[in-house]
């Protein structure tokens, strides 16, 4: 479906790599929030 060539940027990885980054960041945030909740309760 996607016929366009993604533009290269000197510092941004391709948008496909961002899928993993975004989901990993969410997992890390939930983990940190869990630890925070546990630590302060």
């Amino acid at each position: 479906m996607d016929q366009q060539t993604p533009e290269k940027s000197p510092w941004l990885p391709s948008w496909k790599a961002w899928y993993v980054v975004v989901l990993l960041a969410l997992a890390v945030e939930i983990l940190l929030f869990g630890l925070l909740t546990n630590y302060f309760s």
């Binding site: 479906m1 993604p6 975004v22 989901l23 969410l26 929030f33």
Partner: protein, 572 residues
Amino acid sequence: MSWIDWIVLIVTLAGIIAWGLHKSRTTKNLDGYFLDNRSMRWWLVLLSIMGTQASAVTFLSAPGQAYADGMRFVQNYFGLPIAMVVLCIAFLPVFHSLKIYTAYEFLEKRFDLKTRTLTSLLFLLQRGVSTGISIYAPAIILSSLLGWNIYLTNIVMGGLLIIYTVSGGAKAVAYTQQLQMVIIFAGMFMAGYMVVHLLPEGIGFADALKTSGKLGKLNVITSGVNEHGFNWNDRYNIWSGIVGGFFLQLSYFGTDQSQVGRYLTAKNLTESRIGLLMNGLVKVPMQFGILLLGVLVFAFYQFKPAPLFFNEVQVKKIEQSAYKDSLHLLQLRYDLVNNERAEAVGEWLADEKAGRSSEASAAKMKLLVKQGDSIRTEFKSLIKTSGVGGDASDTNYIFLRFVINYLPKGLIGLLIAVIFLAAWGSIAAALNSLASCTVVDIHKKFIRKDCTELADYTTSRWYSLAWGVFSIVIAMFATNMGSLIEAVNVLGSLFYGVILGVFLVAFFLRRVQGHAVFVSAVVNELAIILLFWKSDIGFLWLNAIGALGVVLLAAVLQPFMQKKRPFEGTAA
């Protein structure tokens, strides 16, 4: 407000209007007015979608919500990053390849005109009313706290932005949102710094967190499980946040034209994708930060006397009623508890720092907080029983009351400007999207099909103006709605699930055609309204139920419906 605050407020607002007008030059056709000729880079798309989602209510209600209920509201956004990924994979390629103006335009290509028109009308109804609430919500709070006339505040809140929105369309909306977000972040950061700075001597950021945590406000992750099992009526927990939040955000970003219209302005698919994915990265930490501000304000009030009720207008009403003696009694008890609590919190912190056993002092501190809460509940009951009218919840007033009472001159004006700018960002995007749907989905389909580009452009400007006036009229009629951030989310949840269901069928069930999905959408919309009316189910679940209901019923109905030519242009 002091004259310094007035100057800061007026200069900031006038600056935004001037910037919007400066950026108003665009081609005089639909592409230029609604999509800025698809020319924007990802950071503009990012700031635009963030500015559209974060309304004034976000910055007023969220800290108050954290003060009253703790940080668990952040879980509401856990589904957002997942929704961004799904959007980038399934929705964006189709939207970009079809070169559409509105999300609903795609539904005619995939199904038929009636499905497009139904979803567009549901959007216009929901977004039109909620834009009115977006004007009224901050206006009523500012008018109560500062003694401003509510009608005039509504007009300034919803009226001034019309100048640049009508004149510059999507381009002016995006460029003003960019500047607005910078000012908003700067203002909120300064407010956070000031809360910590205003804590008593010897009490730092870590102590404030410790105190709030001990008193149950750092409940970022909650399971929603109680002694009877999973509580489906619990509004914010990790499961409703991930599952319900995912459907809400997928629906909001994938099918709500106020968001679709923002990322369709990107110069290509990649710019759209990076803008949305960056939003997936920054949204949860941003909401965490706003809620943390509320927790810090809570910690601040553990050491300083907190008002019995943060909306003084309601207190004055009771004072002038037959219940004034009850009020004075409650105030006396509350002052006493305030003083004892400040001492108890100090003792607990001293025990903790000295490494002594702090169980006794913690228990005393918790008991006093509970007593204070119970006195506040008594006052809220008094508002209801006295019949003085008005809102018995003061959640939305907590943050701004603190700002007005404790922050220095100049910063008060800046933070009030922040409230206006946050409101303007989301309202401007809403007006632009309401106009684009009315012109593209309704006017050019049913009223005047063949118009010149210039006539389309002029019509679009008139519709932007008309929706602006309509929203202000709704704001004038709006009455008490409890927590306003929830009112907006609840209203969205009544329609979002069904609209999302239609799009999910369009993308993933290729054999299902227009009749089946249309009947399924109508039946499910009625069922969702009935479910909301007759049950206490947490509103986030309505998104999931509505979406899955449309998908399942459409799949079941399809074999019984007349077959049509399958659409060739979609792919998952």
